[in-house]
Symmetry: C2
Subunit: 206 residues, 2 copies
């Protein structure tokens, strides 16, 4: 297809497509004349992945380039590629040099071991969870995470994994993973706040 059709099908404007081509985020099309190139499904798929990372995941162009480098590195197993996208979605957390922090981080590491979860040592989610635990302790909230672990495990294994096309091209898998993680996460957060409103109304009804 020509660049105009690629633009129409992907919903990405032509100048933006040209920018991605210049930046190496999108591979060149097949040159069929001096000013004309042909694009195919692989270009469409890459553009869909970039859009998902940009618009739904709200990643910076620099972070998207890292995900693309992982997608294109054939020596990486697919779940490491998905991991790279996941890590890019995680907020940056600076570990604190305090006893509180070390204790919270140890609790997270023990939890991961206990659950038998296959998560790298470098996963930023470990520090992210440690930070939340530090705040909970400082504020006197219970840190019984068991019901949250159970809910997360069930939603991910029974629903969210099924929408990821593990067998297909990696950019399609990354796209599906980012969309699923972010959008189902938003829906869940909103539904929790709705349940809160309803439940407090019920408990406090005259």
């Amino acid at each position: 297809m020509r660049i105009s059709e690629l633009s129409a099908k992907s919903g990405v404007a032509i100048p933006t497509i040209k920018y991605y081509l210049r930046e190496g985020m999108l591979h060149q099309g097949e040159q069929t004349a001096a000013t004309r190139a042909e694009y195919d499904e692989t270009h469409l798929r890459r553009l869909r992945m970039i859009r998902a990372l940009l618009e739904v995941g709200r990643l910076s162009v620099a972070s998207i380039k890292k995900v693309i480098a992982a997608v294109e590195d054939e020596s990486l197993p697919t779940h490491r590629v998905l991991g790279t996208a996941h890590y890019a979605l995680s907020p940056a957390v600076d570990p604190e040099q305090t006893e509180e922090w070390r204790s919270a981080r140890a609790l997270v590491d023990d939890l991961v071991t206990e659950l038998g979860w296959d998560i790298t040592e470098e996963a930023p989610t470990r520090d992210e969870l440690a930070q939340t635990i530090v705040r909970m302790r400082q504020l006197g909230l219970s840190i019984d995470l068991a019901p949250y672990v159970e809910a997360a495990r069930r939603l991910v294994s029974e629903v969210e994994m099924d929408v990821i096309p593990f067998d297909g091209p990696r950019d399609a898998a990354v796209e599906a993973m980012v969309l699923g993680t972010v959008l189902y996460g938003r829906a869940l957060d909103t539904l929790r706040r709705m349940a809160h409103e309803s439940e407090s109304a019920r408990r406090l009804a005259p």
Copy 2:
């Protein structure tokens, strides 16, 4: 207690306490001399609520003033006060004038009715969920929300409601509600991403 003790106990700096007093966010202490006032537990509680809204909820001072007005309005039932805090935590969403939007919003309203949830017509969570549904449909994701509704309902009614002191002073209830909603929400989101990493590693293991 003197303002210095109030500051030490609340972790809020004296100039900040004076700012809250000037802005009417904190009620005046009892004047015991020309330059000296006595503060009590009600001041401490209010400062804790303001800190929770500001630091954990990341609300603006303008939004916090609205929550304080609700806390102080004795004609409002407590669950409406909690609702005001909840609504302040919700991102602002602009309804779109499209058929897609109306259909998503109708789906949300039907869901609330079906579940028998006690949620006001004006709850911003209705539009927030509608927006997520519009995005999901545009991106071709399934919108079977049942497992999310079930998870939200269970976590809220079995865990999160129990930490809110409904019988006590309203600012303590608002504080607990905000801390619980935001921090357990963060923990859940991180745990979902951890489960994602582990589950994809497991499914894709060689």
